[in-house]
């Protein structure tokens, strides 16, 4: 009976892991594509998508592996389908790294994403990494080292908005049975 239980639950967990990751990819994609809030400031026309926020939350809740996959695939897929195919390799690396770093720091030393301070550290550390990857990637793409600077302010705004949203949402989700 005990072996039955363990083999069964092993398959169940791998399947569930897979599907959870798929759902998180879907969430990151959706937030990138359709969810945005309007900022009073004019960067990016004022409309900032919530993809980064969603990615941060996923990485904090589920750790580095799912964080990296959700970021890389969720946003990479958005590039592929949304007409930004050329940028997708950059996104894949930048967002994958971001998810990984946040997840790693938030889940380091058995913190399991429950330590708000470390979660913030994770997010803050990931931001420059993302900016650098985009800078280098776009530099190669455009054949210029000046043009990619243009996307930095927008990216910064979007990332900091992500931090501002991820903090309260993660605090709230901690109380939910499924995420305890």
């Amino acid at each position: 009976m005990t072996t039955f239980q363990s083999t069964r639950s092993k398959q169940t967990t791998t399947t569930l892991d897979l599907i959870q990751t798929a759902m998180m990819i879907g969430l990151v994609f959706s937030a990138t594509a359709f969810l945005s809030i309007k900022l009073p400031i004019a960067a990016n026309g004022g409309l900032v998508h919530l993809g980064s926020a969603m990615l941060f939350i996923v990485a904090i809740l589920f750790g580095p592996k799912k964080g990296a996959l959700a970021g890389a695939i969720g946003m990479g897929l958005f590039d592929v389908l949304g007409g930004w195919l050329l940028w997708s390799p950059i996104t894949l690396v930048a967002r994958g790294l971001q998810g990984y770093i946040i997840g790693k720091i938030a889940h380091g030393a058995s913190r399991r994403g429950r330590h708000t301070g470390w979660n913030i550290v994770g997010m803050l550390v990931s931001i420059p990494v993302m900016l650098v990857v985009y800078y280098i990637g776009e530099g190669i793409l455009y054949g210029l080292w000046l043009a990619p600077l243009a996307s930095i302010p927008g990216n910064i705004v979007q990332n900091f908005l992500g931090v501002a949203i991820a903090i309260p949402v993660c605090l709230a989700l901690r109380n939910v049975r499924y995420f305890r």
């Binding site: 398959q11 169940t12 791998t14 399947t15 569930l16 897979l18 599907i19 959870q20 990751t21 798929a22 759902m23 998180m24 990819i25 879907g26 969430l27 994609f29 959706s30 594509a33 359709f34 969810l35 809030i37 309007k38 900022l39 009073p40 919530l50 926020a53 969603m54 939350i57 809740l61 996959l69 695939i73 969720g74 897929l77 592929v80 389908l81 949304g82 007409g83 930004w84 195919l85 050329l86 455009y142 054949g143 210029l144 000046l146 043009a147 243009a150 908005l161 501002a164 949203i165 309260p168 949402v169 709230a172 989700l173 939910v176 499924y178 995420f179």
Partner: protein, 265 residues
Amino acid sequence: MMEKMIFGRFIPGESFVHKLDPRAKLLFVFAFIVIVFIANNALTYGLLVAFTLVVILMSRIKPYFLINGLKPVLFLMIFTFLIHILFTKEGDLLFELGFVKVYEEGLRQGIFISLRFLVLVFMTTILTLTTSPISITDGLEVLLNPLKKVKFPVHELALMMSIALRFIPTLMDETDKIMKAQMARGSDLSAGSLKDRIKAVVPLLVPLFVSAFKRAEDLATAMEVRGYKGGEGRTRYRQLKWQLKDTLILVFLVVFAAGLWMLRG
């Protein structure tokens, strides 16, 4: 409603390009991205543009959709164009406007880089306009298959992608519903100060996560009940058919690339 916008990028059709195998199209586009960088003079860039035009014609995509696809990158194109014009200071001075000096080489580079961008964006847009997301996933899965040898989880990745795609419209509907329910309770993402708006995200995202999580549980259960136990021993229902024309267009692309190589300056 929102769902249709993303998948709306794919426009079903019966053209030659639509009917190509997604693997062929993916390989074609990846190769094309590299080939574009061969061009370096007026002749080769001209050929690239002509080639792209032929593909556009063959795809029978209405120009409206292509132009639409261009919109998001238009700003970038203009921006790079200007940067080249302003900062490349080689060749003859063409004209001077106050402190702005435009050199021949700058103009040339500006035009070339913009053209390169344009053909790349058109070509990639055509791929997404003529290939359904699920075919793209199928194509990628098969192309990545050799990586299974090095234990790369190709099946899992493809399954995750296809399930994510399958659930995006559902998640969007859900988002819409939750947003409306919270709006009816007086919380609004699109009103108030920045702080208010950020606060209004919590009542939206928390239920969205909870529901996505429940869906994952339900779906995993349903999959297991239907005998899902990983990628091993599975057969495939979606079959891709490689046809002669798929080989031909790739051969043609190689010939084209060779031609470009010989004609480059």
